[in-house]
Amino acid sequence: MVQRQTRRTFIREAGVTTATLPFIWNLASLGFAKPNRRKQRLIIMFSPNGVVPTQFWPKEQGTAFQLPPILSPLEPFKDRTLVLNGICNKVRGDGDSHMRGMSCLLTGIELFPGNIQGGSHTPAGWPRGLSIDQEIKNYFQDRADTQTRFGSLEFGVAVPHRADPWTRMVYAGPNKPLVPIDDPYQMLRHMYGQVQDQKSLKIVLDDVCKDLKKIRTMVSAEDRKLLEEHETFVREMEKELQASQIDSSKFPTPFLDKGVKNVNDNIPKLSRMQIDLLVNGLVCDFMRVATLQYTNSVGSSHMRWIGIDESHHELSHHPDSNKESQKMLTKINTWFCEQLTYLVQKLADTPEPDGDGCLLDNTTVIWTNELGKGNSHTLNNIPFVLVGGGMRFRMGRSLRYKNIAHNRLHLSLAHAVGHRLKTFGKPKLCDGGVLPDLV
């Protein structure tokens, strides 16, 4: 789907019609349309199989708290971090905990009955509603001052190539899973292909004209007219391309290392490439919403680069008493937190292209998981770690809620961008409204 992005789908995504832009290359102008209002951005990062609670949750509440081992990489950003404990995925119904953990994580609504059977519970299908990132994306895309070329981009790292409730968390609507792009080269094409095509085209058209001149002498005077007419069209296109030249300082095409294969052992490299692209997309204002999905629910990566040969999912099933496994799981989750920190650091290091401060000032990154804890498969105490100022929440705190449905967090996100929804996902789970004490 993505690599076949045609000009038409681009125009559709850009929300412009062919009538206004007869030949659309001028991406830059689309990218920087509305500089006035302060931007708000949302990035949701996912890692699977639960966490090690003792190594993850801060013991203290409020502003004076220590970051436990797993969260320790975030130390430089502690004052911009908000850890939310006590938020639970209370969606029940068909599907095992992994499936509901994943597919109800951002949708907050039940799965349809279906034919996908997990380790336990009844078989299920896709969720009955869209995910919160898409809800916010739609809200942004409906408004001229927040509209962007893509609205949202769905990044993945090592996501298995099959579509089921364990591998998808982003939904455009009921039964409409969106595919995360986990190949950075494919993502690059998706984001910058048009710009590259334009460059090649410019050079090629010059050669086409040279050739046309040669050919003109080969045909009769009568037929020559047709070729001359043709040549004027080619010249016109050349001129249009010239006129729409892209300001490459504002619009840098990121450089990716070549030939990084999409395999388990390259996950660290792939992770950085994807994060680099994601931040690039924000700089270009291609989108205000993004997701970054590491593997999938029941993700089974083998993190050999930190000395762990066993599969992540298998380890997550081991009992708490298995100290060795607990250590490894802590290591794994710390690695994920390092990826989060790399992203956050990049956002902090990148100035807002058309305003004050840095990207992080106007971006909230949420790190979450489909389970609270791997071996119990609990959907209580789902990890939600927020970093950055996009949602204007009061940061630098550790909060402990009491068994609150995660739908209310989603509601809070929507309200934070001005989208005053009454409910999101399953209405009953929204009782009480937005989360208290966030702003």
């Binding site: 799965l111 349809f112 996908i116 579509a163 089921d164 039964n175 047709l226 043709h230 080619v234 296109m237």
Partner: protein, 771 residues
């Protein structure tokens, strides 16, 4: 011409002039002609014309700008031309023109420049440089890439290969049996495909093979199941429909893909049942212009096919103002479309570079091998061997100037597809060389580029004689791509475009729905294929055959006895009631109104498409008479009344008597004996170009006359020629039409042979050579 009855106004051939215009023109000069011709009995038609007509009409009837600029020409018979001159000129006093003088002028005009072949001598239409038409462009690109990805035509086998497993995944050790299924439409209920060998709780089936597309356009594929399924079409790497996860009560999953006709594509359907109460699956599609149906056996192949690149970019339509699509003009939007298409193809090629070039990414000789791929790509695109200089310009330079190999390939593809050498296959200054001949054959028969066999013949200098060309053409005529092209022509000939959204009054005819209309279309398609491609291929059977293809709903609706069958079967009808395409209910319903038949539409169809005579737009606006005008008045009477004014009669005297012979067929093409409780009057008549009057009663007699008619043969040849060559026939010499028609008649009206003859008549053409 505001509110006339809905008749197509575009003439099939431009230069034919209208009788109406002629009337006016003759009126202007009539006065002079008659006063001069007063007493001299010996004055010749030529002299009368030169002295009195030429001033306004030009010495050769070509027209004179400040007087009457249109050339004189038309489709009336000599007798009719005489009647027009005698009866209408001079305008103020027709009585003053002596019949004998009018006859002489008419004869002179008629013999010298009035009819088409005479006109051709004067006007010297020429073969113009043409770009690829849209159809040619898309076919060419697809077939070009197929030279790399591999190509295969379907063999005679039909159906899909089905592998049945007793588990939900396709594990080899769980396979129970394998068979060819004629189509995928199974309802297993609460049971399994085989109660003895396969448990009902859990099983899976994998179907593999190909899908055969007959027409070019958008195909919507639909998998209907309450279980899980995934469908791949053309692209093995990504499912077109992914319904593996059943979710809620969703049971229909569809997606659309563009396919080119005359080609077959990879198809795979994976299906599994797990724990659901019931199991069923059906594989359906909605082909272009048709209703959704279960994919019939004739469109399925148990063998697979390689991936094809199909261009999705939209192009502006080609100019078809002369009755056939041709590429003799360019526009900005066309040029843009070629740019977008080139970008699309370049991206798709780079995405599949390993498959297309056969060169792995870690190949140590990758650069050299990709260059070879590019030489070949450009060479195929230009339909000839490349010179050293061309290799340098189109490939080597691009590699030198590119940062990496895939952008080099991209640039080569862009440059080749934007090059006039690709876009204008006819560029040539002198006599055609072997590759030009090959290119013309392939464009003529396939609207595409030469295949490897034809290419080889060109490279070996084996396309230099008529026999050699005929050998290749005969081989290529049997290819599905010729079928697709001929079908495209026949659709045009039979005005299929009119039938888009064919519908009838829902209150009066609730049974006539879109599915029935779609079945009618299929029925006629099957008939056309049958006449042209099986048996002796005698084209006259298009008019004479009493065969019809029907399925159960059609048989029921049209009251035809059929053997029990799921699909279409060929049946023989009462020859008095059915005659080939003419009375086929698809055409009869198309050339009809919402509630009633339309003798005018039917007559116009015969005049234009069969006897090949031009009709101009109606001269005056006439609102159609209401069908409910008089409860006793038949359609025939109403039409006669409506077209009674003299201004209507120049054309309707020709149209109506032909159209009336179809009155046995109602608005949906059902046969009837009576209308409004009165017996049908289906008597009709026709006056030939030579002035001979023919009469007949009913469509069968009309069909028999038309099948014998030289005019019909000539028209068919001319129309087919234009569709094949896309250049004016007359440009190939004044005798070409006669020769082709004669050859058509001598080869028992076999259309395949006619195609070969047309190819041979045209492939050696060179500038300045007129047949």
């Amino acid at each position: 011409m505001a509110k006339h009855i809905d008749i197509r106004v575009v003439p099939r051939v431009l230069w034919f002039q209208s009788s109406i215009r002629l009337l006016i023109a003759m009126g202007l000069i009539g006065l002079l002609a008659s006063s001069l011709a007063a007493s001299d009995q010996q004055v010749s038609g030529k002299k009368i014309y030169q002295e009195q007509c030429a001033e306004c009409h030009g010495a050769k009837g070509q027209g004179v700008d400040e007087h009457y600029s249109e050339p004189i020409g038309g489709q009336q018979s000599l007798e009719q031309l005489f009647e027009i001159i005698d009866g209408t000129m001079p305008e103020d006093d027709p009585e003053r023109c002596e019949a004998e003088h009018a006859r002489r002028v008419a004869k002179y005009i008629f013999d010298t420049f009035y009819n088409a072949s005479q006109r051709a001598k004067i006007e010297h239409p020429s073969v113009a440089l043409a770009r690829l038409t849209v159809r040619q462009y898309k076919n060419t690109v697809t077939d070009l890439l197929a030279r790399f990805a591999g190509d295969r035509s379907p063999d005679k086998q039909r159906g899909l290969q089905g592998r049945y497993y007793k588990a939900k995944n396709f594990r080899g050790d769980k396979k129970v049996f394998q068979r060819v299924d004629s189509r995928v439409a199974f309802d297993f209920g609460e049971s399994s495909p085989d109660a003895d060998k396969i448990g009902k709780a859990e099983f899976s089936i994998q179907w593999q093979g190909g899908i055969i597309a007959e027409d070019t356009g958008d195909y919507t594929f639909c998998v209907k199941t309450e279980n899980g399924a995934k469908l791949w079409i053309n692209d093995k790497t990504k499912p077109l429909v992914d319904a593996w996860v059943r979710s809620g009560d969703q049971t229909e999953h569809s997606a659309t893909i563009r396919l080119l006709g005359g080609r077959a594509y990879y198809l795979r359907l994976d299906y599994f049942k797990f724990k659901e109460k019931t199991a069923s699956i059906s594989l359906q599609w909605q082909p272009p212009h048709k209703a959704r149906e279960i994919i019939p056996e004739r469109n399925l192949s148990p063998v697979g096919f390689p991936w094809r690149l199909v261009v999705d970019t939209e192009f502006p339509p080609d100019d078809s103002s002369v009755g056939y699509e041709r590429g003799t003009s360019v526009s900005k939007s066309w040029d843009q479309a070629t740019t977008y298409a080139a970008i699309e193809v370049a991206n798709k090629v780079v995405a599949r570079l390993v498959l297309l070039s056969g060169c792995k990414e870690n190949d140590p000789k990758r650069q050299a091998r990709l260059k070879d791929f590019c030489y070949r790509f450009v060479s195929l695109a230009f339909r000839r061997q490349l010179s050293a200089e061309q290799k340098q310009f189109f490939v080597d330079r691009q590699f030198k100037q590119s940062a990496d190999l895939s952008s080099a390939v991209k640039r080569v593809v862009l440059l080749a597809l934007k090059s006039p050498r690709f876009l204008y296959p006819g560029i040539r200054s002198g006599a055609p060389d072997d590759y030009d001949v090959a290119s013309r054959i392939a464009l003529g028969l396939w609207d595409s580029l030469p295949d490897s066999v034809l290419w080889q013949a060109a490279s070996q200098g084996k396309l230099r004689t008529a026999e050699q060309v005929a050998r290749q053409a005969k081989r290529m005529v049997r290819d599905p791509r010729t079928r697709a092209k001929l079908r495209y022509f026949l659709h045009h000939w039979l005005d299929y475009d009119r039938a888009e959204n064919l519908a009838k009054d829902k209150k009066l005819f609730p049974e006539f729905d879109s599915v029935l209309a779609s079945d009618l279309r299929t029925s006629l398609d099957l008939f056309l294929d049958d006449v042209i491609w099986s048996g002796d291929g005698d084209c006259r059977n298009l008019l004479l055959s009493d065969a019809m293809f029907v399925n159960k709903p059609l048989a029921r609706f049209y009251d035809i006895q059929v053997p029990v069958a799921d699909d279409f079967v060929k049946v023989t009808c009462d020859p008095a009631k059915r005659a080939g395409v003419l009375t086929h209910p698809f055409l009869m319903a198309t050339f009809a109104y919402h509630k009633s038949s339309s003798p005018i539409h039917r007559g116009v169809f015969v005049v234009r498409s069969l006897v090949g005579r031009a009709l101009k737009p109606p001269p005056i606006a006439v609102a159609p008479l209401d069908e409910g005008l008089d409860s006793k008045m038949t359609t025939r009477e109403r039409v006669a009344l409506q077209t009674k004014p003299a201004a209507c009669n120049t054309c309707h005297a020709l149209i109506n008597p032909l159209g009336f012979s179809f009155e046995h067929y109602d608005a949906m093409g059902r046969y009837r004996e009576r209308e409004k409780d009165r017996p049908i009057d289906a008597s009709g008549a026709y006056r030939t170009l030579a002035g001979k009057r023919v009469t007949f009663t009913g469509a069968r007699q009309l069909a028999e006359y038309l099948a014998r008619s030289d005019e019909v043969h000539r028209t068919f040849v001319e129309q087919l020629f234009h569709s094949v060559v896309k250049q004016p026939l007359a440009a190939y010499g004044p005798k070409t039409l006669e020769e082709l028609t004669k050859s058509f008649e001598e080869t028992d009206f076999n259309v395949q042979k006619l195609l070969v003859t047309i190819i041979n008549k045209t492939v050696f053409w060179k500038p300045g050579n007129r047949g």
